[in-house]
């Protein structure tokens, strides 16, 4: 008898808890009536933490500016940040949380291509769009298995073929390089993509790839491979990885007496790079990026001033692109006149000639941003604007 009574009470309690949860769920789906929630699935900790931190700052700045001008559709915006710890598996979990628990209207997707891809299915299943500020691997928006465009995945960045070929053209035309070595982060889809497209363009320009080597994230000793690369005497070395390993690679190369230029992509863009490599060692190295704070267009200047005022530092490309991505969502919401995720998605896909901080953005059929790139040169530990390359 006693047991049965206990069971009754327990089931009552469970039922009421579940009912509350359901009601609460209904409530949050509507969103507080006066705010529209946006999500951000970013690298707040882990190896790419400086990227995620900048991107979060950029998104927050955009939201603050929109809110101070009265918000969107008469409502204020709020930002829910989920940390993906710079890991692809965590990125999928964070995406799930934003889509199903936080019920946001749109999501700023991770920085790293691998992480966006890991969460992409969650976006497709839950019909919530994700726009990555910087993921530049083509496979992010086009499912490689089916060849179809993932209709809920977008990016505010140009893609690897463009970035890789920009650097290859820069190597042949501006640096007169005839031979190149590739030293690629094998654990990153982004780096492998850049390496492949650099190689294609460089060979088309008449250059020769004399050596192709790889490393893995978290490696610390690169001297053995660098010694091998040195023996091949390349004119330039293309190392499209992330700043932590690239910093060590450049430091160790210079120690081995490899003085040729190093080239890379936007994964280099971090204040940690000169700290790890050393300002001296970084001289004579170049990377492609989405924007440069030294660019003197009005959009860049306004953004740099506002960002400096808010955070006391110069915004990097991650901050700029995340700001752009957030603004693109806001613009799409305005055009759709709705906070419904599917309607926002339809309008976002139509983005054309949007005057963003990182240039005029048009989204093409595969949801990639078509816009200009800049080449940044490292001089005594400082990033300096070298040239702008149009698509």
């Amino acid at each position: 008898m006693k047991l049965r009574q206990w069971k009754k009470i327990a089931s009552l309690v469970i039922a009421s808890v579940m009912a509350t949860a359901v009601l609460a769920g209904c409530g949050s789906q509507q969103g507080g009536t006066d705010t529209i929630r946006l999500g951000a699935n970013l690298e707040m900790t882990g190896g790419n933490a400086t990227f995620g931190g900048s991107a979060a700052n950029g998104a927050k700045l955009a939201i603050k500016e929109v809110n101070s001008k009265g918000g969107v559709l008469g409502k204020q915006l709020s930002l829910v940040i989920a940390d993906n710890r710079s890991e692809a598996s965590e990125a999928a979990n964070a995406m799930q949380k934003l889509a199903t628990q936080d019920k946001v209207s749109a999501i700023i997707a991770p920085i790293a291509s691998s992480s966006v891809m890991a969460g992409a299915q969650v976006n497709q299943d839950n019909k919530i769009l994700a726009i990555s500020p910087t993921a530049s691997n083509p496979k992010v928006t086009v499912d490689p298995a089916t060849g179809k465009v993932r209709d809920f995945i977008f990016r505010a960045a140009f893609i690897d073929p463009f970035q890789g070929s920009v650097m290859a053209n820069f190597a042949t035309k501006s640096l007169n390089a005839k031979t190149a070595a590739l030293y690629i982060d094998n654990s990153s889809d982004y780096a492998k993509g850049l390496g492949q497209f650099f190689k294609e363009t460089f060979v088309k320009n008449g250059g020769v790839i004399v050596s192709e080597e790889g490393y893995l994230q978290k490696d610390t000793d690169f001297k053995a491979t660098l010694t091998k690369i040195k023996s091949k005497n390349p004119d330039v070395i293309f190392a499209p990885g992330y700043y932590q390993e690239v910093g060590m690679i450049i430091k160790q190369s210079r120690e081995l007496g490899i003085m040729v230029p190093f080239l890379g992509g936007d994964g280099w863009d971090s204040a940690k790079l000169p700290e790890i490599a050393g300002a001296q060692a970084l001289n004579n190295s170049f990377f492609s990026n989405h924007y440069s704070p030294d660019d003197n267009s009005a959009a860049v200047k306004n953004f740099v001033d506002a960002y400096k005022k808010e955070y006391g530092q110069t915004p990097d490309a991650f901050a700029a692109l995340s700001y752009d991505a957030t603004m693109m969502i806001v613009e799409a919401m305005k055009r759709a006149n709705s906070a419904d995720p599917v309607k926002i998605k339809d309008e976002l896909a139509k983005t054309k000639d949007y005057a963003a901080v990182s240039g005029q953005i048009t989204l093409n059929a595969t949801h990639d941003a078509v816009k200009s790139a800049v080449i940044v040169e490292m001089k005594d530990g400082k990033q300096t604007f070298r040239e702008k390359v149009n698509p």
């Binding site: 710890r85 080597e213 940690k272």
Partner: protein, 298 residues
Amino acid sequence: MDFASFASQFVQQLVNGVSLGSIYALIALGYTMVYGIIRLINFAHGDIYMLGAYVGFYATTMGKLPFLPALIIAMVVAAIVGVVIERLAYRPLRNHPKIAVLITAIGVSLLLEYGGMLLVSPQPRTFPPVFGNEIYNVAGIIVNLQQIIILVISVALMIILTYVVNRTKVGKAMRAVSFDTDAAKLMGIDVDRIISYTFAIGSGLAAAAGVLVGIYYNSIDPLMGIMPGLKAFVAAVLGGIGIIPGAMLGGVLLGVVESMVSGFISSTFRDAAAFGILIIILLFKPSGLLGKNVREKV
């Protein structure tokens, strides 16, 4: 490839390999000493190495200390932490099945890694320049000052260790405990105290390796101990686990093999080669290069 360039690349890879290997050797010594005494693979050892690197980092940046005092402080702090870990996590399980202690060791390892992330943030840190960056070019072979310092300090620590183990009373007691714990106890040796000493010395050596690596590669993070910890374990097994000269030999050998594999075969094959060695050694000579085949006492 003509012979001259092959030869110079070979010697350069040898230099690269020895400086990498002496780090593995320093970490492997701690593994092997602890195993020799209490038959435990201390998986938290790689994280003690990380801890040492961080103590060294804070001593040089916040404490503004020069290299040697910072190194000694890191070794002392790590030694104390090593003893505390043994006292709290391993000693209460002394008479339990070996597997219980092994799993506890993995737990301690994860605690140090993620506790470290919480305390110092997962952001990589960079050491301030501690030594000059002089580069010596000897007939095309490039050696820098840091590599020389790493080698000198590693060799000096190994000589001191060999002296302590072979010539002092504590060392004699360690060897006795390692040989037969029960008999050592009957002879009046305080076994618990000797085990504490072993953990202190092993942890101190790992911390020294951590500081040297931090300065050499100029980047430390809370998960930096995982890979070197595993590699050092391979090195210890390669030389013969429980045998001190074996750890030194195994460490240097592993470093050289890794350099040669990435230099002459393929850089992506390097880790596969390192762990392939572990499998081959376990299959064909489980007691290691310097080990004798001894029947397990039952």
